[in-house]
Symmetry: D2
Subunit: 121 residues, 4 copies
């Protein structure tokens, strides 16, 4: 629709993160190994949120309310450091992920994939 | 611009992943705790790629060639499971991450952030 | 009993690992951040083993047979890198863990701990 | 030596953890996938401690003082959940790790291992 604002996308988030990091002079801390450790820290917080929740209650619990917000914050932190790593490696994450999914389509044909594969994507 | 293809975005990737999962009847495996464990598995592969590379050589090494491709594949897997989790929790990851970044701007004012904070975003 | 071989303990494993590392001249790779990334890699393999197994079947599945062996191998790798980190930091892991457990006893009195704490140890 | 106290070992720690868990009725939360998520949470805290420390300063920083204590606490938590998992799977972790190290000796002969292997143990 003419005049519509285009949706905020992953590239916009990455640009905003770039500004955020530059304004604070934090790029100097962002070597790849440090960024992966920071990512691990955030994945740890995500895991901690869910660790003692019964497996069959987790989806309902984290789909609404304060638990939904909290899990969204931790998932955001994971995405933020993943984009930070993409930034320093000049890597186009969406293009890479699209290609990975295309490769997974070839590796796991839809009509043969009824079972429980060891590793799927 | 009229007639231009809109860029492939995160929402498109999430929709493609939804189709991929549905076609293989894999949604039944996607409870939140299992998806976080799968995410952890992919983060582990990302960490393994970098573990013995000297810290000051990692950026150059993973910015080109086969190492760049490999790191892009592992980062894609992390993103894919993060989107898989967003899918089952009906969570808008981009909106959540944008809000998290806005909160980080308040928490770490640009002119006061010269040091090395314990946790930054 | 006189003449009995003392049991192989954690200190023996750490000494054997020290020899293993020295003989291969691998100590030079063992800075703390690299060792934590290696630990993360092994935790990822442990997570991958379990990711798609239904939560209520995991204990039985991994308690016998080939799955028991496999999980034991991945858990061993985690322990091995944890000891590698203890080695470079000259840290007595058993003494530290014993103290951590004593602190947990104070923090979570036994008679008040019927519920599901957010974080327990 | 007769009358000497035997050193506190990994089996003693595991027994103390068993008591601690039983007294609090927490064994019911300890299915394998939950324990691995708890382990991931602790590994995340370990990673967070080190994430922004320059790689070549980490060993010195974490070898003394408060940083040494803190890293010991996080490493203890990792060990504690690893033993918790060993407990529910009736797995002898020391025996498994000793066997894994023996296998690594065969896989990486000492005189051929000068380089930087992708994955070493």
């Amino acid at each position: 629709m003419s005049g519509e604002h285009p949706a905020y996308g992953l590239a916009d988030l990455q640009a905003d993160l770039r500004d955020f990091t530059t304004e604070r002079d934090w790029r100097r801390f962002h070597d790849p190994k440090s960024l992966v450790l920071a990512l691990v820290g955030e994945v740890g917080e995500l895991a901690e949120l869910m660790q003692w929740v019964p497996a069959d209650e987790a989806q309902a619990l984290f789909s609404t309310g304060r638990a939904h917000e909290r899990v969204g914050e931790e998932m955001s932190d994971v995405l933020i450091y993943l984009l930070g790593l993409a930034e320093v490696l000049e890597l186009d994450l969406l293009t890479a992920a699209r290609a990975k999914l295309a490769a997974a389509r070839l590796r796991y044909p839809a009509d043969a994939a009824g079972g429980l594969p060891k590793s799927r994507i």
